[in-house]
């Protein structure tokens, strides 16, 4: 027993869970949606995804190395995740230089300006998307028409999303089957409801997230748009169309559930989810933008510290 023994406080064992395990878990959950987008949007989807992921990782590395002068933590998977989520929120015909600006906004402004992983207030990928949406409204709302492994990138045929069609009063919408599969115009990762729900199931089974945020968003949106639909079916679309179209499922399952920018208690998560559901529905039905998911999540991100203050975990033996 000449070698030294270690003295440290309890507990003496650890679950083995890690930040990177959670990040890579979310990446795995995003794979079905990525495959669907490669199928329908082909080369464009591949280019946008690769550029976005590579740019996010690179920017994070450079900022950590040259501004923070600290060891790079890009292997934790969070920058890859931001890159992939940003790509999922972009049209698959977006030029490379715009993607780079989006990645810089996401990582530089959205994440690193607050101090890096864990310190940011807003979902970095959404900061990138909204930055681009406001700066380049034309490019950000021109959507390629889905095909079968199309080999076109910026030169393909373009069309509209379900939500913009509805905003313009068009009544000829894709079928439910197409919306479930993802055979419709839209950002490259948001189109397939089935693929996104598969991801949700994976996240829940692996206990990476709990049901509170995604389910409360989906239910609130369904109920609110459902009431409006019952009031005036000619003006307001069926709630199922709202759930299946635009970024609602992508946002509810993958963006709003971002650990860093969502509340910590169960009750807080429900408030957060209901808030997103209401804001999204309001923007979609009464706002100028056809889509409201990004703004709704960012607004609720800003309210998260306040929610954490008022909605605490249920205290043992408490009132």
């Amino acid at each position: 027993m000449e070698n030294k023994i270690i003295i440290s406080p309890s507990p003496h064992i650890h679950s083995g869970d890690s930040v990177s395990k959670n990040m890579y878990g979310v990446l795995i959950a995003l794979m079905p949606a990525l495959l669907v987008s490669l199928y329908y949007f082909g080369l464009g989807s591949l280019i946008v995804t690769l550029v976005s992921v590579a740019a996010c990782v690179l920017f994070e590395y450079l900022i950590q190395k040259f501004f923070f002068k600290q060891p790079a933590t890009i292997t934790d998977g969070s920058a890859i995740l931001t890159g992939l989520l940003l790509a999922f929120n972009l049209p698959s015909n977006l030029p490379v230089w715009i993607i780079l600006i989006g990645a810089l906004a996401a990582i530089g402004i959205g994440k690193m300006s607050f101090g890096g992983l864990g310190n940011n207030i807003f979902n970095p990928a959404l900061v990138g998307r909204v930055f681009l949406l406001i700066s380049f409204p034309a490019q950000m709302t021109t959507w390629p028409v889905p095909g079968t492994f199309p080999m076109s990138y910026m030169d393909g045929q373009t069309g509209a999303t379900v939500l913009s069609l509805m905003n313009e009063g068009v009544t000829q919408l894709p079928t439910y089957t197409d919306m479930l599969l993802g055979n419709m115009g839209g950002s490259l990762g948001e189109v397939s409801a089935i693929a996104l729900v598969l991801g949700l199931i994976f996240l829940l089974v692996r206990k990476i997230i709990t049901w509170h945020i995604p389910i409360s968003i989906i239910l609130t949106s369904f109920i609110f748009t459902g009431i409006m639909h019952l009031v005036n079916p000619a003006e307001y679309a069926h709630p199922i169309i709202h759930i299946l179209s635009g970024g609602l499922l992508l946002g509810a399952i993958f963006m709003a559930t971002d650990y860093v920018t969502s509340p910590m208690s169960k009750s807080g998560m429900l408030v957060f989810g209901i808030g997103i559901g209401l804001l999204t529905s309001l923007i979609r039905l009464f706002g100028a933008y056809p889509e409201g998911m990004s703004f709704a999540i960012l607004i609720m991100n800003a309210l998260t510290p306040l929610i954490n203050l008022y909605f605490k975990p249920k205290h043992f033996g408490g009132k």
Binding site: P11, H12, S15, N22, T210, V260, M264, F316
Partner: protein, 443 residues
Amino acid sequence: MLRTFRIGGIHPPENKLSAGKKIVRLAVPKQVIIPLSQHIGAPAQAIVKKGDMVKTGTLIAKPGGFVSANIHSSVSGKINKIDSAIDASGYKRTAIFIDVDGDEWEDAIDRSDNLIKDCKLSGKEIIDKIAAAGIVGLGGATFPTQIKLTPPPGNKAEILIINAVECEPYLTSDHILMMEKGEEVLIGVTLLMKAIDVKRAVIGIENNKPDAIKHLTNLASAYPGIEIMPLKVQYPQGGEKQLIDAVIRKQVKSGALPISAGAVVQNVGTSFAVYEAVQKNKPLIERVVTVTGKKLTNPTNLLTRIGTPINALIEEAGGVPENTGKIIGGGPMMGKALVSPDVPVTKGSSGILLLTKEESVRKPMQNCIRCAKCVNVCPMGLNPTLLMNATEFTNWDMAEANYIVDCIECGSCSYTCPANRPLLDYIRLGKGKVMGIIRARKA
């Protein structure tokens, strides 16, 4: 659906390596070191001096305050010295060193294996015998038992809950005690019921010990009022408040005693000690200790005299393996890392766990990603990462407002944290600080 407590909880790998290993009586060592602080509260006061001769079971120290306990010699021989010795806490504290000579017991102690069921004593007399025997909570908290059996005026116990969950990974001493001494345990429970005047007792056992559940359920039919309740495996179910919640669905309020929910909780090992004290006149001088670890050649359960250096226990289990990084007194979740293998076994020693170097090293801490996993597992419904931050920035008001004093230090938060943050280290520090502030305010 099996019951368990309703907030938080984790399920670490059980690693019950010594499960089913029969209790082995460890040889009496050449010298024992009996610390005067083996319980929560004031240290006991020695009533012997150097050179005195004592028998096994002789009273050698008396309570040093209201919350304190008697201590008896666990061997026969001569007092070598009364001096400071490093104990399981890591601090040097006063202890009585006794050189062993033979094994001559006090005459009053019944050393036979005869089972004595009947007890003519009143509740008060039972409590007095328990106090005289120096019994403390043997689950690890070591609170003097007679005090828990004497509720403050105005409170009346309605139910006795026996803690037999043994939720700590690795530990098996309570399990094997139930298997080998089931009848004694149940008589002990009956005595405790009489002591606090209740008609109902529930023995809570986690479902990973089906043999103990079956064995005690069979025996319990002969003991009216005692019910065996299987519980879902969930750490920290052995926490007093958690066990009460699991068994009778009542949550003891912040700062309140279990008696406010009408419950008195005792450990299953304690009820065995109560049997021996009341029916056999035997003070608390030995206990079952699990010696375990993945690299040990022979993980085992040893009936050990109090004061035996843990070295002797480890030798019995095959000796200290190569590559040992940590020696823990107790289980891996709440046990204490021991500073040396020379510290003695005390009344609260439920186990000795040896971890390898790899198991002993903590991984580097990363930024908090606010994943709320610590919040989800906290059995007290606290926000561990908030409490860690409050402590780090010495914001004691915030720590107090978020119930830092309710932390039971179970370690579920640190165990779970994906960013390897030392949540409990900070919370423990902050809790001590805030408790001091509260005391100062009251004074």
